[in-house]
Amino acid sequence: MGKIVGIDLGTTNSLVAYVDAQTGEPKCIPGPSGSTLCPSVVSLDPDGSIIVGEPARRRLLTQPERSIYSVKRLMGRGPSDVQSELKLFPFRIDPASKNVIRVQLGDKVFTPPEISSFILRELKNWAESYFGEPVGRAVITVPAYFNDAQRQATKDAGKLAGLEVLRLVNEPTAAALAYGLHEKPAAAGGKVAVYDLGGGTFDISVLKLISTGEGDIYQVLSTNGDTHLGGDDIDNLLQAFVHEQILQTDQIDFSPHGELAQELRKALIDIKHQLSETTSATLRFPLPNGNVFVREFTRGALEALIRLVVERTMVPVKLALADAQLKPNELDEVVLVGGTTRTPMIRRTVQEFFDRKPHTELNPDEVVALGAAVQANILDQGVKNMLLLDVTPLSLGIETYGGAVAKAIPRNSTIPASAQELYTTGVDNQTGIDIHVLQGERELAKDCRSLARFTLRVPPAPAGLPRIEVKFLIDANGILQVAAKDLRNGQQHIIEVQPSYGLNDADIERMLEESIEYAEQDFAERQVIEARTEAESILTATAKALANPQAAQLPATERQTVDAGVAALREAVKGSDYKLIRQQIDELNRATEHLAELLMNTAVQTALEGKKLAEV
C-alpha cells in the first residue's frame, strides 16, 4: 500500500504534504530544487519525454507550443465550454475533440486528466525520494465548487498517475483542517468562513466547529464559488492592458500566445507580486524593435484594474452566508487561503466585509496541501478524534417533461446524500426510459450542467406497469453514482452511465496502458539508479584517497576493511537491490572515516605550509 500523502493539485502550483509521525504536524515535501511548490506546468520534450514543474515552466518561454499551464481550467469540461478561455489561454485544443477535450503538445494530444496525471506523478516521485519508499495512496484537493465532471476528472488523473485516491477533499475545508481551528477555544463551537482565491478558482465555505465527547467535527454549512475566477484573471487584465499600451507606443501587436506574450506575462506577474509588498514597481520590458517598454505601476493603479475581480468574489460570499443563514458579523473566524489572497486589496475587502481580521498565519500556498495531509492521516490511521462533514456545492436534478429540472438533492446537502425517483413507462411495450441527470441551480435543463444520460432498459409490459426505482447517490467525494432496481422483482439493474463530459472506463484503461510509455521508471528502478550514482561517487572518492601518499599511514587492518568495503560495494552495484547498495555505501563510509581524517589533516597542513607563523 505504501505511504499516504495529501496533494494540492492547483491551477498555478501543486504541492504534496504528509503528517510527520513523530510530531503529528503536517509538512510539505520539497522537490529536487528545494522548493515545495511544483509549478503546474507540463512540457513534452522533442525526445518524447514529459517534463513537469519548474523546468517545464522555463519551456513556456522557449517552447510554448509544446508546453501547457493552468490545465486545471480544462478539467471536466467540453470543447464548447472553453471557447472563452481560448482567447486568454494558449490552449491548443485538438479540433477533433468531442466530449472530452484533447490538448496538443507538439505532435501529440493529451486529455486534461492525463496532463494532470503527469503533475501528480511528479509529486509522487518527490514524496518517494523523500521517504525512500513507495507512495501508493493520496488525498487530493479540489475546489469546493467543482462539479461532478471536474471531480471525476481529478480522480481519473490520480488513477492515471498510479495513485489510489482515497478521498477528494474540498480546498477550503482542507485549509480549515490545516489551521486546526478546533484547538482554538474561541473557535470551538464557532462559525468559520474560508475565503480561498487561488490561481484559477474561487471558493467560499462556511463551517461550524463542534466539539463532541468523541472528538471535533468540522461541519460545512454552505459553500459557493466560481471555478473560473482567480489570479489568472488578474494576470489577463494586466496583460491586455499592457498589450494595448505597447500597440499604441510601438505599434507591436502581440500574437496572443507567442513567446513574447509569455515573457511579458511572466514579467507582469512579478510586478503583481511586488505590488503586494511595495506601493510601486517598474516594468522594463525589451521589445523586438530594440525599444524598452518602461512603465511604473502603483498599487492604486493595480487596484483600480482588479476591482471588478475582487467584487466578483463577494457575490458567492454573500450567497454562501445566506445559505448558512448567517450575517457577516456572526462569523467567529475568517481564514484566507490561496496565493492571490496576498493582494492587500483582497485582505482589506474581506476584513471590512466580516469586520474581523482574517487568519493569514499559514503560508497561503501551502495550507491546502497541509490540510490534505491531515485528512490523509485521518483516513490512514483511522484517527478518531476528528471528522469532516462536507456538502455538495450544486443541486442535483433530473430533467422532466418540457426541459424543466426537478431538484432531487439540494445544494449544501451533507454528503454522502441520496435521492430516489420512481419511473414507469408511458406507452405499452416501451422498452427504455431515458434519464438525464444535471447539476446546477437553474430551472431549465439547458441552463444546468449535464452530468450524464442513460437509458433504463425495461421488459415489455403495459404502460404504467413497470416500476423502476433509481437511486442517485453523491458519495463522500462529491461524485455521482446511479443504481436502479426493478421493484416488481427486486432485481438490481446495471446502469452504464455515459458521462457527458468525461472519460469512460474504456478510455481510462487505454490511457493507463499508454501511460506506461510516458511513465518514469517505477520507484524501485529510480532508487537503484540514485543509489548507483551515489555509489559511483563514493568509489571514485575512495580510490582517489587511497592513491594519496597519506593513505600509507593507514594501519593494515583498516586498509583491509576499506578494500573489503570497496569490493562489497562494487559487487552490490552490479545487482539491482537498492537497499543492499545503500547498506554497502553506509559501511564503506564508516570504514573510510579514519582515512578521511588523515587526508583532512594533510589538507590543513598543505594549506599552512609556506606561510609564516604570523600569517596563520
Partner: protein, 228 residues
C-alpha cells in the same frame, strides 16, 4: 391497513454472521456495520416516534453521534462490502437529518410514509377563497411583463406587486401557523393512541394545508422572479 407505530427498527439478519438481531447500527454478534432493515424510516433511524414536534438540539446531537459511527471515513480500510454499506447508511442518515430538520419536509415525509401523500405531490389548484386575489395577481403579472416588453413605466405595477407579495407572504405565515397547530393535534393523537380514523382525518387536513402552502409559495416565488 393499520400502520404500526414502531419506534425501533424491525429485526434483521446480520449480513456477515447471519445472526438475527435488533441492533440498530452494529451487529451485537460480530460487531459489523448493519444494513438498514427494510421498512425502516427516518424517524426510526433517530429512534423517534412518528411525531411532528422534534427537539432540534437533540436531533443534531443524535445526527453527529451517528455520523461518527457511520461515516465512510471510518471504513477506508474495510472490505468493499462494508464500505458500500457505510456509504448507503451515511447517505440515509444525511437524507434523514436533512428531511427531519426542515418542518415542512418533515410533514411531507410523515404523510408519505403513512401513505397519505405521494412523493413530490403538489396540487396546483387555487384554494377557492384565494381565487379572486390570484386572478388579480396574475393580471398584474401579465401587465408587468407587457410593460417590460414595450419599455413603459413599471413603477406603479411594481408597487402593486410588492403589496401583493407581502399579502401572500402573510397568507403563507398563516398557513404555517395552521400547520403548526395541526401538527400538535397529530402528536396528541399519537400520544393518546387515537383510532386510525381520527389519525387519517388529521393527515388529510395536514395534506390540504401542505398543498395550500405550496400553492402560495409558488405564487410568491413567481412574483419575486418578475420583480427582480
Amino acid at each position: 391497513m393499520a400502520t404500526p407505530l414502531h419506534t425501533t427498527n424491525p429485526p434483521l439478519a446480520c449480513w456477515n454472521c447471519h445472526e438475527r438481531t435488533i441492533g440498530t447500527h452494529f451487529c451485537p454478534g460480530c460487531g459489523k456495520l448493519l444494513q438498514l432493515p427494510q421498512g425502516s424510516d427516518y424517524f426510526a433511524m433517530f429512534e423517534l416516534p412518528r411525531k411532528l414536534w422534534i427537539e432540534m438540539g437533540a436531533l443534531e446531537q443524535k445526527f453527529l453521534q451517528l455520523s461518527w459511527k457511520l461515516h465512510p471515513d471510518n471504513f477506508v480500510g474495510a472490505t468493499e462490502q462494508e464500505r458500500e454499506i457505510s456509504l448507503q447508511r451515511s447517505s440515509e442518515l444525511n437524507d434523514a437529518y436533512r428531511t427531519l430538520r426542515d418542518p415542512i419536509a418533515r410533514v411531507e415525509y410523515l404523510l408519505a410514509i403513512e401513505g397519505t401523500r405521494k412523493n413530490g405531490e403538489n396540487k396546483q389548484q387555487a384554494p377557492p377563497e384565494l381565487l379572486e386575489e390570484v386572478f388579480e395577481l396574475n393580471e398584474s403579472l401579465d401587465e408587468l411583463r407587457e410593460a417590460k416588453a414595450d419599455g413603459s413605466d413599471t413603477a406603479l405595477l411594481r408597487c402593486r406587486l410588492e403589496d401583493a407579495e407581502k399579502n401572500f407572504e402573510e397568507k403563507q405565515n398563516e398557513v404555517d401557523g395552521l400547520l403548526q397547530s395541526k401538527a400538535r393535534e397529530w402528536d396528541a393523537a399519537i400520544d393518546a393512541s387515537a383510532q386510525e380514523a381520527a389519525r387519517k382525518k388529521i393527515m388529510a387536513q395536514l395534506n390540504e394545508l401542505l398543498n395550500r402552502r405550496s400553492y402560495i409559495r409558488n405564487l410568491v416565488v413567481n412574483v419575486q422572479k418578475e420583480l427582480l
